[in-house]
């Protein structure tokens, strides 16, 4: 059985709810939970923490049923976006608070606090009150307070969203180091894809209180299980009909355009396919390659977005979004209405139904 197991969890708080949530997390996993506002991400954490009582369903931690245990018996720490540092205690007292419940030896406590605060770079702030700190410093203090008691699981509820971009990046690195060192299992609610790329082993996609997909970031982003997930992670989604199966390849008809996919489906079935924009190659002229799908496309739109360029290409009536670098844009002298060769591998075409 898994380290954490959530079974058929249901709860309805009016605005937010959970519907039949099932989840299992292995020891040491770093799980990010992502989804639009109102998807029930935070409720899931607070229910697992014991703040809400689920209507039905069970929560297991190390094979023990903790569904009705008091929060203080669960051995789970939580870190909030607004830090929730106790304003009447210094940083030291805040971090010490959970630890002194477990340890009696003042010296050991002090050593451990100094160790973790050094690691997080806040050891010079121990005697300050939280209100005198910057956002990033407060967040590091709250992480130290949560981690130092070596909880079985650490929950983080959008921990970085109140911080600016620079601070965010710094703290992500610090958190990664600290969590690796403590070997903590983490459930991290976020709405920032960056958190997934830099921290997550697993991603859980939620919407409207339901779990839509759970897997490694690569799995979820390259192979979304449903339209909702694909839509959320931002790939090309095309409606198609399976025309025939030849060998290991499905031939799909997308409004008259034939696309090859290495995913197998039943002939005659209507399926949706996902093609990631960064897996599509454009070139001035088509050449022999391992790519099964080769088309002539016309550039209909060019959008510059910071470090990259989104092209929209029309291949025989089907619009495809393609992602390239500004360098390629210049090198290929791409402009609107220019004809290009569009290539992508059959393995890049995922059937998502």
């Amino acid at each position: 059985m898994s380290f954490v197991k959530i079974e058929n969890l249901n709860i309805n708080l009016g605005e937010f709810k959970l519907e039949d949530v099932n989840l299992s997390v292995e020891k040491g996993d770093y799980v990010t939970i992502i989804g639009p506002t109102g998807s029930g991400k935070s409720i899931l954490l607070e229910t697992a923490l014991g703040f809400y009582t689920p209507e039905t369903g069970k929560i297991f931690l190390e094979e023990t049923d903790i569904t009705n245990l008091n929060p203080e018996k669960r051995d789970i720490s939580i870190i909030y976006q607004d830090y929730a540092l106790f304003p009447h205690m210094t940083v030291y007292e805040n971090i010490e608070y959970g630890l002194k419940k477990r340890l009696n030896d003042k010296k050991t406590i002090k050593e451990e606090i100094i160790q973790i605060t050094k690691m997080l770079g806040i050891d010079h702030l121990l005697n300050r009150k939280p209100e005198t700190l910057s956002g990033g410093e407060m967040q590091r203090a709250s992480i130290a307070r949560g981690l130092i008691i070596k909880p079985k699981i650490l929950f983080m509820d959008e921990p970085f969203s109140a911080l600016d971009v620079k601070t965010k990046e710094k703290i992500r690195v610090l958190v990664k180091t600290a969590i690796k060192k403590y070997g903590t299992t983490v459930l991290h609610v976020t709405h920032d894809f960056e958190d997934i790329w830099s921290l997550a082993d697993k991603v859980l996609i939620m919407k409207g209180g339901r779990v839509y997909q759970y897997g490694t970031p690569e799995e979820v982003f390259s192979n979304p299980s449903s339209e909702i997930v694909a839509d959320f992670v931002g790939t090309n989604i095309l409606d198609s009909k399976v025309e025939e199966i030849s060998g290991n390849i499905s031939v799909l008809d997308v409004s008259g355009v034939k696309i090859y996919s290495s995913d197998i489906a039943k002939v005659g079935e209507n399926v949706k396919v996902s093609i990631r924009p960064e897996n599509i190659i454009v070139a001035l002229k088509c050449f022999d390659s391992s790519a099964k799908n080769v088309f002539n496309g016309k550039v209909t739109e060019i959008k510059k977005r910071g470090h990259l360029v989104w092209l929209t290409l029309d291949i025989g009536g089907v619009d495809l979004k393609v992602l390239i670098t500004p360098n390629s844009l210049e090198a290929l002298e791409i402009e609107e209405n220019k004809n290009l060769c569009v290539m992508f591998k059959a393995t890049g075409v995922k059937i998502i139904r």
Binding site: E46, N70, P71, A84, K101
Partner: protein, 241 residues
Amino acid sequence: FLTFLFTFLLFLSISSLILVPKFDDVLSSIFNPEMIYSLKVSLYSSLISTGIVLGFSIPTGYAISRYSFPGKSIVKAILDLPIAFPELVLGLALLLLFGQTFIGDILEFFGIKVVFTKLGIVVAQIFTALPYAIRIVCSTFQDINPRYELVSRSLGYSEFETFKNVTLPMARSGIFASSIIAFARCMGTFGTVLMLAGGTYMYTETLPITLYLNMSYGNLGMAISSGIVLLMISFIAILIF
């Protein structure tokens, strides 16, 4: 602005209270044994009442702000009542409760007399001040994000330990404010005390009663002096707060 007029009039009326009477008159009245007696009664009873009010209002305020329980809305509505509720009617109702129903009889059986006694003063003051105190304490607790408590509990502390270590220290200023308000209310309550404890000379005589009794005897000097004393105590309470 019109408001300045009101503020000005209020200010003038307070200063006229201080300036109109002759200073000697006031001084001699203050050291009058009646005044000293009623000041003592007022201070002692108010301190006791404030203590009891705090003892009630902290758990009540916490319960109302954190839990939903059957009858919560009824409790809240009844606690809201006295704000828009005449003091005098409250006093009359208490008088009937303790004087004419079985509750009064039971208490009397154990030798506890509430009506027209000093105990009556305390009871009257508690009933006047408690709703205010509970409201302030409750809104103080409501302003504290329950996340702090959840964090404390996730760190291994029970609900009671969390209340003691986190909630109470964070609510300190609100609780302090509510005790000052409660004290000032207890000192100043007139109608309720008059009804339940009666305004007996040199027995159940608090400062507002002294003011009233002397006023009705036509002893304006004593009345004004007790007004000034009351005013001073209110001012001191508000200054601390």
